[in-house]
């Protein structure tokens, strides 16, 4: 939200109420249930024992969890480091109008529309060295590429898959933001003889601030919860090179059917995402305000 002063009006609550009701229905009760699980040892639906914070303590000490958390953080920051600049560059080079703009828009967005399990399945074949285009091409170029055998290759494949899958989201948001800049701004810049970089830095970037914030946070939280695609592509392997947090969690919850620890884990997981998003959100808010003051908007 912008930080400029707005008139105080408590009646605005009435406009927000429908949203709160809609979301609370699906948010509060399940969250409460998970909190409830997290403090109990559930032996069977009829036999439960209250264990207090025991699961939380156990989860915090879990070495595998720490490893998964680091893998996850590295992955999410790699995702942001590649997808955000690439998305901005893409939005800047997309044509502004005409049939070309329409065609490019549709082509770029296609990968977003593929269900997540299908994304994993396509890449599973696509990356195979014997029958897949990518695997075959890399093999021909002299790489001994195998996403099932080599941990690094698997990790990079998951990252490239994510870039392929989600960069369009960043690009579309930035594109929409760019299109909302009135022509007058560009004309003024031309009269002032502003360089391309100056136009980007002082007109386009500040105007994209809102959508960029959405893009960064969305990409961050979604990549932090990535599950279906690596699950289908690599199953978390080889070893556990691509076992990210949510996969580790699912192994616990479904595989071993440890509801209590899994619930405690998912609450901690939730709090980690919450904390990181909060930091990112406030940081971007501050940077944005500083820019505004600099440009005298």
């Amino acid at each position: 939200m912008s930080t400029t002063t707005k008139p105080v009006n408590q009646k605005a609550w009435l406009l927000v109420l429908p949203v709160i009701i809609c979301v609370a229905f699906s948010a509060i009760l399940p969250l409460m249930t998970v909190v409830n699980y997290s403090v109990q040892d559930i032996i069977s639906p009829e036999r439960r024992v209250f264990v207090g914070t025991e699961w939380f303590a156990a989860v915090m000490r879990d070495e595998d969890l720490h490893a998964a958390l680091w893998r996850q953080l590295t992955f999410s920051f790699a995702v942001l480091a590649v997808e955000i600049p690439l998305g901005i560059a893409l939005a800047l080079s997309m044509p502004a109008q005409g049939w070309r703009a329409s065609a490019v828009l549709v082509l770029v967005a296609l990968s977003l529309l593929i269900p997540w399990n299908v994304v994993g399945t396509i890449w599973q074949i696509y990356g195979r060295a014997d029958i897949g285009l990518l695997g075959m091409a890399l093999q021909k170029m002299g790489f001994d590429y195998s996403y099932t055998g080599n941990a690094l290759h698997a990790w990079i494949t998951v990252l490239v898959m994510d870039i392929w899958h989600w960069t369009p989201l960043v690009a579309l948001l930035c594109y929409a933001g760019l299109r909302s800049i009135p022509d007058a701004y560009y004309q003024a810049a031309r009269i002032d003889g502003a360089s391309k970089f100056a136009v980007f830095r002082y007109i386009q970037l500040p105007k994209m601030r809102g959508v960029l914030m959405i893009a960064v946070l969305l990409r961050f939280m979604d990549s932090f919860m990535i599950y279906t695609e690596p699950f289908v592509l690599t199953g978390g392997g080889p070893g556990n090179a691509t076992t990210f947090l949510s996969q580790y969690l699912t192994q616990k919850a479904v595989g071993q059917f440890d509801l209590g620890p899994a619930a405690a884990f998912s609450l901690i997981y939730f709090l980690i995402i919450l904390l990181l998003c909060f930091i990112l959100y406030n940081w971007m808010q501050r940077v944005g305000t500083a820019t505004k003051e600099n440009t005298g908007e």
Binding site: S26, L107, D183
Partner: protein, 270 residues
């Protein structure tokens, strides 16, 4: 715009589009092959071209009903999301009120719940209220991540519109609903288009919740696909054909909202 710069841009764009389309091309390629051919040889075009995979999907109710079910709940979800998000986004962008920042951030937090463990509580909740295996159930569950997104996107677009426009309209004697529909909505068309597209997209591709909340009557296409994968070994060819078909509705949606995304603010200005 000088010439070489223009070419660099275009080259970059073309390179990206090739990168984006190659996996999709591979899927389309697979969808016209037989399973035996997919697994036995490498070829850029199907050697024994077949429509059989698509025929399976269009003639088998367990396949095509999946598409219909998905479309129904996605449509319900998108309509509800945008309808409730519009007034809320307006409130957030125009007024300050007690707890506004907290509510806004709370909404975002709902996108951050790791799904795996929340599935069981969801299942229990929707069983209790008797909505299991209905389209409404999935549509309501997907509101959890779509409404915050819609509010958020729309708030961004609305904040870009100067407040003087609202004030002038009120001075001219417009009531709030009339102002909102007649003047304000056309101004943020781009935002509505983008928000609607994202709601459609996220609801269309979501697998875990949709699969958990349905069994037969409202089984979505994403769930149908996972079942086929596990049951008959790995029916790559049918899966590829189904995958190609899942792109179609979304592509149509983008085609409709492309003007809103492309033209943006400049066109909406009165």
């Amino acid at each position: 715009m000088n010439k070489p710069r223009f070419q660099a841009r275009t080259l970059f764009l073309i390179a990206y589009i090739v990168f984006a389309l190659l996996p999709i091309y591979w899927m389309v390629n697979m969808s016209f092959k037989t399973n035996a051919e997919i697994l036995s040889s490498f070829s850029f075009f199907p050697q024994e071209f077949t429509w059989a995979n698509y025929r399976t999907i269009f003639t088998d109710p367990s396949w095509y009903s999946g598409y219909i079910n998905s479309l129904i709940y996605v449509a319900i979800n998108t309509v509800i999301s945008i309808t409730v998000a519009l007034p809320a986004a307006y409130a957030f962008s125009r007024y300050s009120f007690i707890g506004d920042k907290h509510v806004f951030f709370w909404l975002l937090t709902n996108r951050m719940t790791p799904p795996a463990v929340f599935l069981l509580p969801f299942f229990q909740l929707y069983t209790t209220v008797g909505l299991m295996d209905t389209h409404i159930a999935v549509a309501l569950a997907h509101l959890l991540f779509n409404v915050p997104l819609a509010v958020w996107i729309l708030e961004g677009f609305m904040s870009g519109i100067p407040r003087e426009i609202d004030e002038t309209a009120y001075i001219d004697g417009y009531s709030f609903p009339r102002f909102f529909v007649r003047i304000f909505l056309p101004l943020i068309k781009a935002g509505v288009g983008v928000a609607a597209f994202f709601c459609f997209m996220f609801s269309w591709v979501e697998l875990l919740l949709a699969r958990t909340l349905t069994s037969v009557n409202a089984k979505p296409i994403v769930a149908t696909m996972t079942r086929t994968v596990s049951a008959s070994g790995m029916d790559w060819a049918t899966l590829a054909a189904a995958g190609v078909l899942t792109i179609v509705p979304g592509a149509i949606v983008i085609w409709f909202v492309r003007h809103y995304i492309a033209k943006g603010f400049a066109m909406g200005r009165v």
